[in-house]
Amino acid sequence: MNALRKYMNKIKPHFEPGGRLAKLQSVYDGMETFLFTPNTTARSGVHIHDGNDLKRTMITVVVALLPALLFAMYNVGYQHYLAIGQPEASHVARFVFGLVAMLPCIVVSYVVGLGIEFVGAQIHHKEIQEGFLVSGILIPLIVPINTPLWMVAVATAFAVIFAKEVFGGTGMNIFNVALVTRAFLFFAYPSRMSGDTAFVKTDSAFGLGDGTVVDAFTGATPLGQVATHTGDVLQLNNVVGDPIGTSDAFMGLIAGSPGETSMVAILIGAVILLVTGIASWRIMCSVFAGGLAMAAVAHALPSATYAASLLDPWSQLCYGGFAFMAVFMATDPVTGARTRTGQYIYGFLIGVIAILIRVYNSGYPEGAMLAVLLMNAFAPLIDHCVVSRNIKRRLRRASINQ
């Protein structure tokens, strides 16, 4: 560590104004604060003494995402070996296959996203912000496993530039960057983002897991099956046609975007976020409350036209990306509501709209992404109303006292 510190001190003069590499000052600064805790303190104004900074906040979210990420890798392998008719493959083989299949997507998302952030920071002579640490890991988790890498790269670049940098960088964005990436892919390349071929990797990954797909294979996700379902009795199947139920969705061994399938892994992440106080429990709980309420309403009026209304409220929360969205997307402190009352309203409406889209709009089998993006746009309005109502109330109280 000492040697590293000495080396960093040695090369520092090059990066200061007038030095040879002065243009790369923000890169140096980013690397230095990444390696060592800065020992500078504020000299004026209000001081809040807390070791928590943006880097630690972001890393905590990444840690909370780890259970979902590890499970995602396992499940990608599990679905693959199921599809090629080798369900007896070992746990290690499944995990390694998933790791190899997901790694390129993670690398592409980080390289493209961080690359643009670095360049942006150089141009504006600002410090490099760590905002992309979380987005970079969220993107591989919410993008279908079969999405070509160049599409991931294009979508990530679009999202980082148009959803974040043009608004002023980390902390200034109106819309959740990871969700903008997914929305871009969803509208630009719809055939790659839904249907039977998107969600289960059937070909081999770097030579691993060769095999031919079994005859009974269908790659549709549970919600994809719901969307094309007709009739009064709803029975969902896994990729080789065996029936599945809500408990499978809770555990997560079903087809879907990598990170979203397992409720268990997501709930572990939720506990980490809530215990460390990173995410707002008000938003998280009210998203689930809104989802349950709307799902209960839909389930109370079941109709064969809207097959998703045949799902009971509890399964509505377990299937699809609802839980992942509630824990990791809706709670984004930058794009969400900030006032306490506002957070209840914001979360509740996200839950309601997500289920509303899922059940009553046949064009979109899943509504979680669109619900969050829509409410992102309304979050400032909600906050404004809450604040101005508070101001009015206090004014009234003040005038009565006079």
Binding site: P148, W150, V154, A188, P190, S191, R192
Partner: protein, 207 residues
């Protein structure tokens, strides 16, 4: 013929005083007709024709129009010219006129037209007004063509209907970007052009 003032009337709208990029006028039709290049070019030419001749006509009668009803008079002139253009298109380029559908008719409500008539033709002689109309129409058309070029290229892989992205790319996994066909991308493309334009013309940047 082309005094300094006339030159300004003709050439300023191309870049420094572009109706779309600087005055942010005519955005509606810029979004609507730019999915592919051909209708965009036809639309641009139509707007140039209507704008130039309505400018000239209004300029000729500018001293006889009572101020209180000038907007109505302008609308009548523009509407008459738009109908001429529309009928001309139906007669000679039926396919494109179907693609453009209501948007030729909606040239009447294009803010650029009313803007130029009010701001220029009512106070200037016919010849400068004609040049001003041509200039502003061209400024509008340039943006339309740039936006439509990128939207058609990235959204359909073609330019003017000809395949330009080689089949080789599609065989190796390239796909057309469906979002480019949808209206939001027209806004973002216009925004990118404005971005580049402001970056090159520092005096246009707001503080």
């Amino acid at each position: 013929m082309l005094s300094k003032k006339n030159k300004e009337a003709l050439f300023n709208p191309l870049s420094k005083d572009n109706p779309v990029l600087v005055q942010i006028l005519g955005i509606c039709s810029t979004l609507a007709v730019t999915v592919s290049l051909e209708p965009a070019i036809v639309m641009g030419i139509s707007v140039i024709a209507v704008l130039a001749f309505s400018n000239v006509i209004i300029s000729f009668i500018r001293n006889t129009i009572p101020t209180t009803i000038r907007i109505i008079v302008q609308l009548v002139v523009v509407a008459a010219l738009v109908i001429v253009v529309q009928q001309f298109l139906v007669a000679f380029d039926y396919e494109v006129s179907k693609q453009l559908s209501v948007f030729i008719g909606l040239i009447i409500t294009n803010c650029i037209l009313m803007g130029r008539l009010e701001a220029f033709a009512l106070n200037n002689k016919p010849w400068p007004s004609f040049l001003d109309g041509i200039g502003n129409g061209l400024g509008y058309m340039i943006i339309l063509v740039i936006v439509a070029f990128f939207r058609e290229l990235l959204g359909s892989g073609t330019v003017l209907g000809f395949q330009v992205i080689p089949q080789w790319c599609y065989e190796h996994g390239y796909e057309n970007n469906g979002l480019m066909i949808l209206p939001p991308m027209a806004l973002i493309t216009v925004a990118c052009i404005i971005w580049v334009h402001r970056a090159r013309n520092k005096e246009l940047q707001e503080a």
